[in-house]
């Protein structure tokens, strides 16, 4: 189960990177990066997963006393939540950039934005 999840995560990362590096359309690149960061999140979660345990939420079903033996590692879960939020922020910023680039350059082709070089 962990292996499948982790493999899926890495495959998603690779697909995302491949897409980001082969598509010259800026919007497609942004989508590809979203796929890659989803992959990263899957990998993160899968690292903290332990078979047969439940979600790290302390309530009636999981009393505090037995929590250490019955819940999965909560840290990666917390990390993923943060990473998702940050990913959202970065994606929004990239989209804003895409919009401004299109406004001034009338193109979304990244291979045409090469006036700064050498």
């Amino acid at each position: 189960m962990i292996t499948i999840a982790m493999t899926t995560g890495f495959v998603l990362i690779l697909i995302g990177l491949y897409g980001a590096l082969t598509n010259t359309n800026i919007l497609r690149m942004i989508v590809s990066f979203t796929i890659a960061s989803t992959g990263v999140n899957v990998v993160l979660v899968s690292v903290g997963y332990m078979p047969g345990r439940t979600a790290p939420i302390l309530d009636d079903a999981v009393p505090v006393g037995s929590a250490t033996t019955s819940i999965i590692d909560p840290i990666p879960q917390a990390l993923v939540l943060t990473a998702i939020v940050i990913g959202l922020g970065v994606t929004a910023l990239m989209l804003a950039y895409a919009y401004r680039l299109f406004r001034i350059r009338q193109t979304l082709d990244i291979s045409k934005i090469v006036e700064l070089k050498w």
Partner: protein, 1041 residues
């Protein structure tokens, strides 16, 4: 003391508060931003002060009331406090600098700026790697926002490329973090340190984590994105991006690297050095100021990474060294970006506009000196300590690469400075926003302050408390005074310094001391000729003299090296003042700095890790390392004496300098190299490398310099160039005398030291005076000036009689000692060469009289007067001195002779009355004077008696008889005077050395031009660079570990 967490609280709180303000309250919003940044700076600085003085201890700040690793903890130690101060102060000053842009964009941009500074501070403070990731992402987002402050539309493209690359980096970072966590069971950095990573098989995870952090340092070649930002962003932001972001990212890498153990350090060294060298080479081809600064930033951060790679051997000096380089870089780079913001155009030559505002030129020079690590800035002390540690641990290769990189960096930075000083400047003085200029001055002052602090922390004397240097820098403050008043102060300063210190001089120091200080004061008399304020003359001149003054009293290798660099910088600025000096000053600086680095390496090798090393202890250096120390120091000193092979800077530098500067850099400055050689040979004596006696090699170098220098001199048309080439020959003689390693050889070298100072200063002044009147330095454009400029004529006559070594003047004394000396030496072939160069010297010297003062007067010169009084005055002093010294050479040489006798067993000279006796014969100056005087008088009377038979020849009756030639010089008898000799000997003068150094320079430039095509400008290519960089390094790391 206020907890450091308030840096984050205040930054974040003010950013949120800005969101609540009305959009139209821009002034209020800006005031709030500035206040928040000021509070953040204040907290950082108060921590820095408390930790540095010992009033506070490094403190951990717990969040959520729980011990780590269950909650994030922040730490403030000395390093953190120092870096926080750099970051927050950069933020504060940049915010002031960005005022217009921020006011225009409104409160949101101010909030983003606050978040950026807060995130960078967080990167420094946090001890939790996931928290590190969060702060890094905040930095990315805020950077993405601040890039848009620029007016340059290309910045939008650059910002997007940056986001693309950071996406890749954050994938690496997150994957690295989670697997490190998996292996360690903790996210806290301090828990890693307890358990070495490699042991747990988590090497790859750690590698990815490390790579992500290293990539934030913009390593070559995965840094195209950063360069594009540097080129297009608002310079106020670029200052933050370079100084603050670079600082924070370096510290993050250092924090993580420190936990990985020593096996990861070679990787950091490799990446750092590779980046430092490659980026500096690439910068050679840049003509956009901001992109050039970008390359330099990347290189400097690479250097810091390379130093971090040495942390296993630097011990408790690590902070001092890495911090020194980092702070010098941060202040200098921020300052340079800020200056670039007040300059409207982007090509390097646009910086000429700074000349209309001299204090900005001082700031510019300050920042460049800081970047290169020149004294008295922190980088200088850091460089010195680093060199000694590296050599002590056998990492000489690392040091050599660092020095090569630093030399290349000095090359393009000072080429830029030369452009700014020498190229044509616009006429209209631009109006600068006062706030921006204020920020630049603040940075320059902070730089000087940091230099003072680093000096105080060093185990040596604080250079900024050295009296000569303080006096020289004091001249910066009185630049507004008229030149003549400053000249009086300068002369007084030199005399007073001599008066204060001569009591402790030994005879050798005394001779050099008199030449440097009193000799310098005499040359300054000529400077009375200049009127106005003469901006930019006295500070560099006094800097050079300060270096010379510090050089002769230097007792430790550190003091000697510091003095050497000070005099090098001073003389560079001085030489640069000449009208066409731009390329020559640069070439002078490159050779001198190269030489200085050789000296540094030599001293470090000699010390073997036990600095400070007393100069006298050079004698104790033995074993395999000793000959290498000798070679390196000798090369260093020979760059100053312009020995053949290292001479190509001299002719241009001396000839193009101003009339009173030429004697300073020729008569005075060249002796610094000889002083070094004296000390070297006195302490280390004969050294053998691969069975070759190194003094024998020096003998050959001296002989070849004498021969070739003189040969080159005879073919010059330009009188000052002629004198300059002749200096190469004269220094060759002196070197030859020293390398003979016997009593008389040394005495002769000292005689040359004195004589060369006098006659070269004399001749440069008289030729300079003539050139001032005639408006040309080409000898064939002059002629017949004897009646119009009689005093100059007498000066030149006396000068060349002395220099050619014919009786009765003191040059003959030099020759006489020389002939005695070679009787006892056994190197025959180089001796023949030196003999040959004697008559050759006569060939060019005679032209000075013959072509300038005899022959036909040029029509346009009929109204000329003799040279100006103040230029003549020192000449007449020299003439009087030469006549006196000819009769009484014993007054200086006697004590020196006895002093040298302490070093050699063989017989010196005996001085009885006015007669000097050697084992081969005697020399009686007074008798010679009487004999020569009698012969001269008789001949003179005879010629007078025959004078009535002379026939006056009308001008033009031969040369211009039939036509007016197209190129007048080709028909002038003095043009190409020695053409037959050139046909015979010209092959010796093929500019092989010039071609050699030119080829090296060209190869570097071609490499740069070829390699920089790597940065295609395409964001996807940059992302591929990043991935390839990681993969290749993984393979390399496998190889290293």
């Amino acid at each position: 003391m206020v907890s450091a967490i308030f840096i984050i609280v205040v930054g974040l709180g003010a950013a949120f508060a800005l969101g609540l303000l009305k959009d139209s309250w821009r002034n209020g919003a800006f005031a709030l931003t500035m206040a928040a940044l000021a509070v953040m700076s204040w907290i950082s600085i108060s921590w820095l002060g408390a930790l540095a003085s010992g009033a506070a201890q490094p403190t951990d700040i717990l969040t959520a009331g729980v011990q780590p690793p269950f909650a994030i903890n922040l730490r403030v130690g000395l390093a953190e406090a120092g870096l926080l101060s750099v970051i927050t102060l950069t933020g504060l000053l940049s915010a002031l600098y960005l005022r217009d842009a921020l006011m225009q964009q409104g409160r949101r941009s101010m909030a983003v700026l606050l978040i950026a500074i807060m995130a960078l501070s967080g990167i420094v403070l946090t001890r939790d790697i996931f928290n590190l990731f969060v702060f890094f992402e905040l930095m990315v987002i805020s950077t993405g926002g601040l890039v848009l402050l620029s007016d340059d539309e290309r910045a939008i493209g650059a910002g997007f490329k940056y986001l693309v690359v950071t996406q890749v980096i954050s994938i690496l970072l997150l994957v690295g973090i989670i697997f490190t966590y998996h292996a360690q069971g903790s996210l806290n950095i301090d828990d890693f340190a307890a358990q070495p990573l490699a042991a747990k098989g988590a090497g790859l995870a750690f590698f990815l984590l490390l790579m992500a952090l290293v990539l934030e340092l913009k390593p070559f070649p995965a840094n195209g994105w950063a360069l594009d930002i540097y080129e297009s962003a608002h310079p106020g932001f670029s200052a933050i991006f370079s100084a603050a972001s670079g600082t924070a990212a370096v510290y993050a890498a250092d924090k993580v690297l420190a936990t990985g153990g020593a096996e990861w350090l070679p990787l950091a060294t490799f990446i750092g050095l590779f980046t430092f060298l490659a980026s500096n080479i690439l910068a050679l081809r840049q003509d956009n100021d901001r992109r050039l600064l970008g390359y330099s930033s990347v290189a400097q951060i690479g250097l810091v990474l390379a130093v971090i790679g040495q942390r296993d051997i630097l011990g408790d000096q690590f902070l001092y060294i890495a911090g020194g380089i980092l702070i010098a870089h941060a202040v200098a780079k921020a300052g340079l970006f800020w200056i670039s913001g007040v300059i409207t155009r982007r090509e390097l030559t646009a910086w000429t506009v700074l000349r209309l505002n001299p204090p900005l030129v001082v700031a510019f020079a300050t920042f460049l000196a800081m970047l290169i690590g020149l004294p008295p800035f922190p980088g200088f002390y850091a460089k010195w300590e680093l060199a000694h540690h590296l050599v002590a641990e056998g990492r000489v290769a690392v040091l050599v690469l660092i020095l090569i990189g630093a030399l290349i960096e000095a090359g393009y930075l000072f080429r830029w400075f030369g452009l700014a000083i020498k190229r044509e400047a616009p006429v209209a003085r631009p109006k600068y926003a006062p706030g921006k200029v204020l920020v630049i001055y603040a940075a320059a002052l902070l730089g000087w302050y940091a230099g003072y602090r680093w000096g105080a922390l060093s185990q040596y004397d604080n250079l900024l408390q050295a009296m000569p240097l303080m006096v020289a820098l004091g001249f910066l403050l009185i630049e507004g005074l008229p030149a003549r008043i400053k000249n009086v102060i300068a002369i007084a300063a030199l005399c007073v310094w001599f008066w204060l210190s001569y009591g402790s001089f030994d005879p050798l120091q005394m001779i050099f001391g008199v030449i440097f200080m009193i000799g310098g004061a005499v040359i300054f008399l000529a400077s009375f000729h200049e009127t106005g304020r003469r901006l930019g003359f006295y500070p560099p001149a006094m800097l050079m003299y300060a270096g010379l003054a510090m050089l002769i009293v230097a007792e430790s290798s550190f003091a000697f090296f510091a003095a050497w660099e000070v005099l090098t910088i001073g003389s560079y600025f001085l030489i640069l003042r000449g009208k066409k000096s731009e390329p020559h000053a640069l070439s002078y600086l490159m050779f001198s700095l190269g030489g200085a680095f050789a000296i540094l390496l030599g001293f470090a090798l000699a010390a073997g890790g036990t600095a400070p090393l007393a100069i006298a202890d050079l004698a104790q250096v033995t074993g395999a390392v000793a000959p290498w120390v000798f070679v390196l120091l000798a090369i260093g000193f020979m760059t100053k004496t312009a020995a053949i092979g290292l001479h190509i800077w001299l002719p241009g530098a001396h000839a193009e300098a101003e009339a009173d500067v030429s004697p300073m850099v020729s008569g005075v400055l060249l002796k610094a190299g000889l002083y070094g050689m004296f000390l070297l040979l006195m302490t280390m004596g004969r050294q053998h490398l691969f069975g070759v006696d190194l003094t024998y090699v020096l003998l050959w170098i001296g002989a070849l310099s004498a021969l070739l220098g003189n040969l080159m001199a005879i073919f010059q048309e330009d009188a000052k160039r002629l004198l300059a080439y002749s200096s190469i020959g004269q220094m060759g003689y002196a070197l030859f005398g020293l390398a003979m390693m016997n009593h008389l050889g040394w005495l002769m070298a000292l005689m040359f030291v004195i004589n060369h100072y006098v006659y070269k200063s004399l001749l440069f002044l008289s030729v300079g005076g003539v050139a001032k009147r005639t408006g040309t330095r080409d000898m064939y454009r002059m002629g017949g000036l004897i009646k119009l400029m009689p005093l100059s004529f007498i000066a030149v006559l006396i000068g060349i009689i002395t220099m050619s070594g014919v009786p009765p003047l003191s040059g003959f004394g030099g020759r006489w000692i020389f002939y005695n000396a070679i009787m006892t030496a056994d190197a025959r072939l180089p001796m023949v060469l030196v003999f040959l160069s004697g008559p050759i010297a006569f060939l060019y010297l005679f032209r000075l009289i013959h072509t300038i003062f005899l022959g036909q007067l040029k029509d346009e010169h009929r109204q000329l007067k003799d040279a100006p009084f103040w230029i003549l005055l020192p000449q007449m002093i020299y003439v009087a001195f030469l006549l006196g010294f000819a009769v009484l050479p014993g007054m200086a040489l006697r004590r020196v002779d006895a002093y040298i006798g302490e070093h050699f067993t063989e017989q010196g000279l005996s001085w009885e009355g006015l007669t000097i006796t050697s084992e081969f014969g005697y020399w009686s100056p007074v008798q010679i004077m009487i004999v020569i005087g009698t012969i001269f008088t008789l001949l003179f009377l005879l010629l007078l008696a025959l004078n009535h038979k002379a026939q006056w020849v009308k001008q033009f009756n031969i040369v211009y008889a039939a036509e007016r030639p197209f190129r007048p010089e080709t028909t002038h008898f003095a043009w190409n005077f020695f053409a037959p000799y050139r046909r015979a000997l010209g092959f010796l003068l093929a500019p092989l050395v010039t071609r050699f150094w030119g080829a090296i320079t060209n190869a570097l430039h071609e490499t740069a031009e070829f390699t920089r095509k790597l940065y295609t400008g395409n964001g996807q290519t940059y992302a591929v660079h990043v991935l390839v960089f990681v993969v290749v390094l993984y393979l390399v790391a496998g190889g290293i570990s």
